[in-house]
Symmetry: C2
Subunit: 360 residues, 2 copies
Amino acid sequence: MATTIKDVAREAKVSVASVSRALNGSGGVTAATERRVREVAARLRYVPHGAARSLITRRTHTIGALLPDLHGEFFSELIRGIDLEARARGLHLLVSSSHNGADDAAVALRAMQGRVDGIVILSSPGVDADFLRANLPEGLPSVLLNSDVQGGSAAVLNIDNVAGTCAMVRHLVGLGHADIAFVSGPKDNFDARQREAGFRAAMAKLAPKAPLRIVAGNFSESSGYLAGRELLAAKPRPQAVFAANDMMAVGCLQAFKEAGLAVPGDIALAGFDDIPIARYVTPPLSTVRVRIAELGKNAMDLLADLMDRPGVSAASVHTLGCDIVVRESCGAHRNGGATARTSKTTKTTKTRPTTHSSPR
Amino acid sequence: MATTIKDVAREAKVSVASVSRALNGSGGVTAATERRVREVAARLRYVPHGAARSLITRRTHTIGALLPDLHGEFFSELIRGIDLEARARGLHLLVSSSHNGADDAAVALRAMQGRVDGIVILSSPGVDADFLRANLPEGLPSVLLNSDVQGGSAAVLNIDNVAGTCAMVRHLVGLGHADIAFVSGPKDNFDARQREAGFRAAMAKLAPKAPLRIVAGNFSESSGYLAGRELLAAKPRPQAVFAANDMMAVGCLQAFKEAGLAVPGDIALAGFDDIPIARYVTPPLSTVRVRIAELGKNAMDLLADLMDRPGVSAASVHTLGCDIVVRESCGAHRNGGATARTSKTTKTTKTRPTTHSSPR
DNA sequence: TTGTAGGCGTTATCAC
DNA sequence: GTGATAACGCCTACAA
């Protein structure tokens, strides 16, 4: 149906080999031949068949992205970051999101065999060390995102959750809010676990006398709302609430508003992620900024490195630092709530990104 | 490097043909043979090479998505909707976003040759009828999203921008706001053009005596902010402002707040798209809801239909209706601004979805 | 410089 | 039921 290299060869009165050479610029063809071939190819609207080419070339110029069924800005920004960098490198992106559970992920992973040169895997429940050992094709360059799997044949890239959490606790304590309650995320989420651990460590160091208050959430807005109500009912109300992600902070905010409390006047509030919504709620939310698109870009960079030197099992662990962005929800600014626009450029405190390679 | 069908055949002491039959359940093999082959395949962790298989099968079980370099919720939701439905059909998704201009899109389109069974194209400047005629592989099932290209070999799926705009104008006029100013989107965007045309038509019909006020924007928040300031300076201030998308409405809101105006007390405000931020802004934004994920799903459904009957040039035009969602920014509710949560479920007015097929 | 031919990994078509 | 073998479309030695 579609035109093949043979059609072009026949029409240009040369062999298929010459067509290939002319079109791929491999040299070894007369300028005249090349011109004629290109002319015919254009006229016939010939486009090489990707599958056929990659069968012999052993390269697909495509990378895969395996993602759990998540939605919202994190997904969007991550894909965007990966795709942007992939495109800059002339690579395409085969995404497989919206899968639930290990079985589903395994099927998706198998289907990528022979269609990708490398793969980025965002960790999710069920996708652990055993899963990867069993399902990750040997020798396929791969980068694990936000994962606690280590020592495998893949590179690992994580957010610096601990440092980010610590920076926010320091900020809150510095503002005089030592009695901080933490709203945690789902137990089966790696970032959520790290953020809670970071909170515990930071409190032990920065506010050792304050009670350790942690209420369970699951990263959803409604769980944040419930947590907010629970905290309002606590005997001494906490001075500040630090939610493990922004959506839960937004839920808390809702609960506080309903109760007639002023934020930050009566209670301070902080989140984690810096999703776009954080800027638009009233008051604008102070939060730990995760540069998600950059996370995607770095993952792609890491993967490209792995793809450049095949066979070398370059297991390594990398960490992307995160800032805190101070808006109004913790009481740092007292210049009125109407200037949300100017709060877009605010003081940020960077945690230093670290790279720890462990060749094996 | 990776294990192939030959390795399995040798190990199981059968021919490659039998391995293929056993693993694909094509029948024609003893139960014993099948069991042995499966056992060996599992032990060797054999996974068929996708490219090789699709070379002979003529099927990739993959669909492509060609998107402009857009970010934010529209992108995210669309991909999600497509992917969800694709996955339900056992199809994979090759995305190519973040490209600017026709040349870039052409390269992306070529690269999909032989890697996809069908393609969804979100229209963007430069991707017009001529572009598609020149770059769209003949016979490749394709669905055009938000496009004014018609009569080609592709199915077209659009948002019902005109009906949506009209419904919102009716809502505003019904509230007593006849003097409505419209903030338009970029001229090279199809949706933006349709929304402006819809506004003109609606005003001519529903508020013929009101002055027609249209100020230019480009879908960005900052352009909305500028438009908002411009409208505040107008001699008789408009009673309502209807922005062609939500981000511009958010920009307007900012301008109004800075000027000390109350929304909706002093001026009503409406948007288009119903991105998540619309709910979280103060006051919550009344807007025209576009069910983006459903748009993606419908596109995938349409594409699947086309893929089922190859060769049949089923050019058709489909329209996805949209609701208006009434929150607080137009003054419909007067039950206090604190109950944003309940405003999530609100009165919606549906425009009827229409499907107009034109077989040729 | 050009053409011929072999092979990439798989499925499909034959014989047996 | 099973096994050779010919495609699928392309690239790349090797030969001319």
